[in-house]
Structure formats: structure tokens, C-alpha cells
Amino acid sequence: MPAEITPDAKGDFRHALTVTRREAIKLTALAGAALATAKFSGLAAGSTMPIYVPLGSPSTAMPVAADIPPQLMPVALQINGKLYTLTIDTRTTLLDTLRESLGFTGTKKGCDHGQCGACTVLIDGRRANACLALAVMVDGSEITTIEGLSKGDQLHPMQQAFLTHDGFQCGYCTPGQICSSVGMLSEAAAGMPSHVTADLSIKKVTLSDDEIRERMSGNLCRCSAYPNIINAIREVSKATRGVQS
């Protein structure tokens, strides 16, 4: 269900009326899906092919109360320093709100189940999977996405470090990696121990490569650019240590 979008005071509408490249891709994908469905339904009756059981079919799903129509609710989000108010289907995740309703497509959808970290953003300053939060649940929160890390054309030090160290190949996981590493450095600066921290009583965390690997394990990179990702994070960690602690 399309959301009703209200721009902030400065009138920054993010939806253009022209068909963009990504919308063209979406239209192509939809057409393909329609074709596939048509082919597949032709197989159902009398076929020896495995029968597709739709999600939530009565035979296997938990008994639930009757379905209700989609519900709309108003939500206010402070995203990268600007206030956005919109009315949105309660089912919409923060991730889909950012990408589909507000055009913050820097945040990526990978697995959509909290397993890959591609959707990592900062919610009230703490890193989180945007796919596992509903927009209505984070109503009133401050969200920082990859678009909000740079100051105009001036990259955030972590963005620059990923460039300098070539911390990516295809780049799809990169916004999540960068947001996650920024959140991770704040956690370390606040003295958060990790699974590989030898002594729980330490007050100051030193980020060895092992520490960086463990703390970044919620961000997968299928290209396996991990060595360079660690080089980038290590550089920023060393540069900011004096400032943060």
C-alpha cells in the first residue's frame, strides 16, 4: 500500500515523477514474476510436480483469528537530521519505509531476516537491523542511514577508509558494513566487551583484528572482502582512539 508522504518543512520530496532506473528495474522484475506465476499455476492440477503450499496455508500454519484489512498509522521519523511524517501500513519495516517510501535506497535489503546486516542503520545512535524493526515501533526515533554519515561532499572517515582500503567488491553490503562499523566503534569507546575479550573487567577496549572480526560478525560480505574491511575499520579505530576515550 503506497504511503502518503509529507515532506519536512524544507519541502524535500524524494519521489520524482519520472521513471528512474530503479523503477524501470522494478517494472521489469514484476513482469517476469507475472510470467513465472502464470507458468507455475498451469502445473498444479494432476501434475506429479511437488505441489506448492502457499505460506500460511490452513493445513500447516498456526490457527489464527480471521484476517483483517491493512491498517494505516501516522509515523514521525527524524532521519539524518530531518523530520519526516508519513502515514504507513503497520506492517512496513523501517527498511522498507526508508527505501520504498522515502527513497533512502543507500540502505540495502539483503536477507530481510536479520541474518546479513546489509540493512544496518543507527537507531537513536545504536546500530540495528532495519529489516527487524517496524516503522511504527521506532516512531519518534532518530535514524542515521549511510546517506546521513557524510557532510555534503565530505565523506565520513569510515566511508573514506573503505575507499582507501578497497573494502568492498560488489559494494552491496558496504552501506551496512559502514553503518555497523560506526556503531561498533561507539560501543567499543563506551567499553562494551565482546565474545573474544579475554577480561570482562577491562574498562578500555583495544580493537585487535580478532575483536573487529567478532564485533562485525553480523555483517556478511559474500564477496569476502573481509581483509580490506578490517583494514579500513582498524585505520579509523586507531585514528579516533584518542578522541573517543
Binding site: 503450499v53 505460506l55 500460511g56 496455508s57 493445513s59 500447516t60 500454519a61 498456526m62 489464527v64 483469528a65 480471521a66 484476517d67 483483517i68 484489512p69 491493512p70 491498517q71 498509522m73 501500513d89 503497520t90 506492517r91 519495516t93 530481510d112 531476516h113 536479520g114 546486516g117 544496518t120 537507531i123 545504536r126 546500530r127 540495528a128 537491523n129 527487524l132 524493526a133 517496524l134 511504527v136 515501533m137 555497523s180 556503531g183 561498533m184 560501543e187 563506551a190 567499553g191 562494551m192 566487551p193 565482546s194 565474545h195 575479550t197 570482562l200 573487567s201 572480526r213 567478532e214 564485533r215 562485525m216 560478525s217 553480523g218 555483517n219
Partner: protein, 364 residues
């Protein structure tokens, strides 16, 4: 995801009252429930967000113990100075679970209530007694590498929960299948690391229910074995909310959480062991051990701890014998289902190694 109405009540009593309507469900961190809702394994029609009702502090109790609010995030609990100082096994268990992102959202109460990650619970195209009671268990005879080896009794055959079984051929697996269909067997495991540490620490779960009635449930009674009703996982009544988890005053001793998994990080336990062992003068004065990844609830057996008391951990042979006796008591009645047979020997070794480490001996 099915459509639902959403509400953020202003008081706990309002939340409890609202939960009486059919199809209602509480949500806090959402890291497990939303995942399940996307797959329509859970399909609430009314979501009650309790994440802004306070219950987010960690305080010393009058008895010297700790009171952890149900909304305390996993990351904050792991980082808390009191927890790190006095309940290291809890901090370690939390840090071994999930990812940094998830620990920032997941709550203490929600962690206790998370549901199994059994592949077949997640696969709507396959029977699952937990998801659809009476439909059968696909894990018995299926890919059950992650599944339970202890505490299984599906009511489908007297031999369940009997003596330790070897992997067996297709024949034995087929008979297991037929029994699985006859009863309501479930070999899912509880996925929480936090709950295993809390079990070793004798935590208690505080709740509020209808008409403001409060209860204190020992964690031993909070999670249930699957029995013949694997769809009922905890002692909570409809609409009852976890308000806090309390820990008794700190006990002396070494605290260890050992987790064994397929990846070095960000994976559920194959087996895990939480141990608190107090050694005085070279002998074990007290011990508590709870195991994860092996049963429908954190697994703790009193006789496994009794076997350790008085053990001379300075002497190689006697120490080894005591650790083995303890592991054997924990594993009494264990059986594998094929892919997970390895968990029996893995848990035995993990228990011995953890006890050795906690007793100040060189880890096995």
C-alpha cells in the same frame, strides 16, 4: 505479513487487558517475532508494543541479588558493570549470542520467549508438531543436526527417552518416523544462550497478569519440555507479561560459558555449557551446570552437580573421574536422531572441558 493493528499502551495493566483480545501478541525488540511474522509462522492481528513501559533498569535487590528489567536490551545487560563483575557467565552467554545489531534491540524478556530455530518449524511446507500440533515431526528422520538429544517424550512410543541409541540405519529411522506421526513428538531445542546462563544462576522470572496479579516463576519451571504439547513453551498464561528477571546474591566461584557452534561467531549453539564452580582448598565446594542446544529448555540435572561436590581437583585421575560422572549424569537418557548423534559425545567432552577450566585445571 498478515495485517494487524498496532498499539502502544501507557500502562502495564492496559497492556495485559488489551492482550485478552483474540490474536493479540506483545512485541518488544521484535528481532524474533517480526522474523516469524514475515514467514506467517506467527500471524497476530493485534500487536501490543510494550517496549516503552519502562522495565529497563538493572538494580541491586535488598537480598544482594540483581533485578533486571524485562526491557533491558541484551547489549546493555552484557555490558552492565554489576553483571560483568558478579555474573560473568551471564555476560559471556549474551556476548556469544546473535550479533551486535541484534543485541542492541533484543530484550531480556523477549530472549526468554524466543522460539526454536528448528528448520522444520520455519518450513511451512513440512509438518511440524510445534507449529501445527498433531501434524507430525519432520525433524525426526529429517535433517536434525541442530536438534535435541535430551528430554524428548512425544507420547508416541514408550521407548522414547530410553537408553542411548546409536545412529541406526534407515530401518530404525523409519520406525522413529511412524512413532513421530503417532504422537506429538518434538525434538526442537531452545535457542537462547542467555537462558542457559540464567538457569545455572537460579534466576527467577517475575510477571504480571490479569487483574494485576504478579507471579515469581523459578527459571527451572519457566520453560517447558515439549512433552505432548510442544506448542506450549513456557509457564506464561495468556496475556501475562514478563516484568523482570531476578538473580540471587552472587555465588563464589569461577564462571564459564562455553559455546560450540558451526561458525566462530554469530551462530546458534550446537551445544553450550554454563558452569559456576567454587573450588576451596583444592576441592569443589559447590557447582552448578546448565547446558544449551540439547533440549527444549536449558538442561540442568541435580545429580550432575552432586557428583562434583567434594571432588579433589588437584588429582588428575579423581578430577577426571568426577567430571566424567557429572557429564554422564547430564547425559542420562540421551539419544540421537541420526544427524545429531555427535552431540552426545560433544556435550560429554564440552562438560568435562568446561568443568576442568572452571576448576582451575588446564582445559581438556
Amino acid at each position: 505479513m498478515k495485517a494487524f493493528t498496532y498499539e502502544r499502551p501507557l500502562t502495564l495493566n492496559a497492556a495485559v487487558l488489551s492482550a485478552q483480545q483474540p490474536g493479540a501478541k506483545f512485541i518488544a525488540g521484535g528481532t524474533n517475532l517480526l522474523d516469524l511474522m514475515k514467514l506467517q509462522i506467527e500471524a497476530p492481528i493485534h500487536l501490543i508494543d510494550i517496549s516503552r513501559l519502562g522495565m529497563n533498569t538493572i538494580e541491586r535487590n535488598a537480598d544482594g541479588g540483581l533485578r533486571i528489567g524485562a526491557m533491558v536490551r541484551n547489549a546493555d545487560l552484557a555490558q552492565d558493570a554489576l553483571v560483568r563483575a558478579d555474573y560473568g557467565v551471564l555476560s559471556r552467554a549474551l556476548l556469544s549470542g546473535a550479533s551486535g545489531q541484534l543485541r542492541n534491540r533484543a530484550t531480556t524478556g523477549g530472549n526468554l520467549l524466543q522460539r526454536t530455530r528448528c528448520n522444520y518449524f520455519y518450513d511451512l511446507t513440512r509438518p511440524c508438531n510445534k507449529r501445527a500440533p498433531g501434524s507430525g515431526c519432520s525433524a525426526v528422520g529429517g535433517f536434525n543436526r541442530m536438534n535435541a538429544i535430551l528430554g524428548v517424550d512425544g507420547g508416541g512410543g514408550a521407548s522414547f527417552g530410553g537408553s542411548e541409541a546409536r545412529s541406526g540405519g534407515n530401518g530404525s529411522r523409519r520406525s522413529a518416523d511412524s512413532r513421530a506421526e503417532a504422537g506429538n513428538i518434538c525434538i526442537a531445542v531452545h535457542p537462547s544462550d542467555m537462558a542457559v546462563a540464567m538457569r545455572a544462576l537460579d534466576a527467577k522470572v517475575e510477571t504480571i497478569g490479569v487483574n494485576g496479579v504478579t507471579r515469581v516463576i523459578p527459571i527451572a519451571d519457566f520453560h517447558r519440555l515439549a512433552g505432548t504439547t510442544p506448542n506450549i513453551e513456557t509457564a506464561l498464561l495468556p496475556g501475562e507479561i514478563i516484568t523482570a528477571v531476578t538473580l540471587p546474591a552472587p555465588v563464589r566461584g569461577q564462571q564459564i560459558y562455553r559455546k560450540i557452534r558451526d561458525r566462530a561467531s554469530y551462530a546458534f549453539a550446537l551445544v553450550s555449557v554454563a558452569a559456576v564452580v567454587n573450588v576451596v582448598g583444592g576441592k569443589i565446594r559447590s557447582a552448578s551446570i546448565a547446558c544449551g542446544g540439547v533440549a527444549h529448555k536449558p538442561w540442568r540435572i541435580a545429580s550432575a552437580e552432586a557428583a562434583l561436590v567434594g571432588a579433589d581437583v588437584g588429582a588428575d585421575v579423581r578430577a577426571t573421574r568426577a567430571f566424567a560422572a557429572s557429564a554422564a549424569a547430564l547425559l542420562a537418557g540421551a539419544r540421537g536422531y541420526g544427524h545429531n548423534d555427535f552431540k552426545i559425545s560433544l556435550l560429554r567432552r564440552a562438560v568435562s572441558a568446561t568443568l576442568a577450566e572452571a576448576s582451575g585445571r588446564k582445559s581438556a
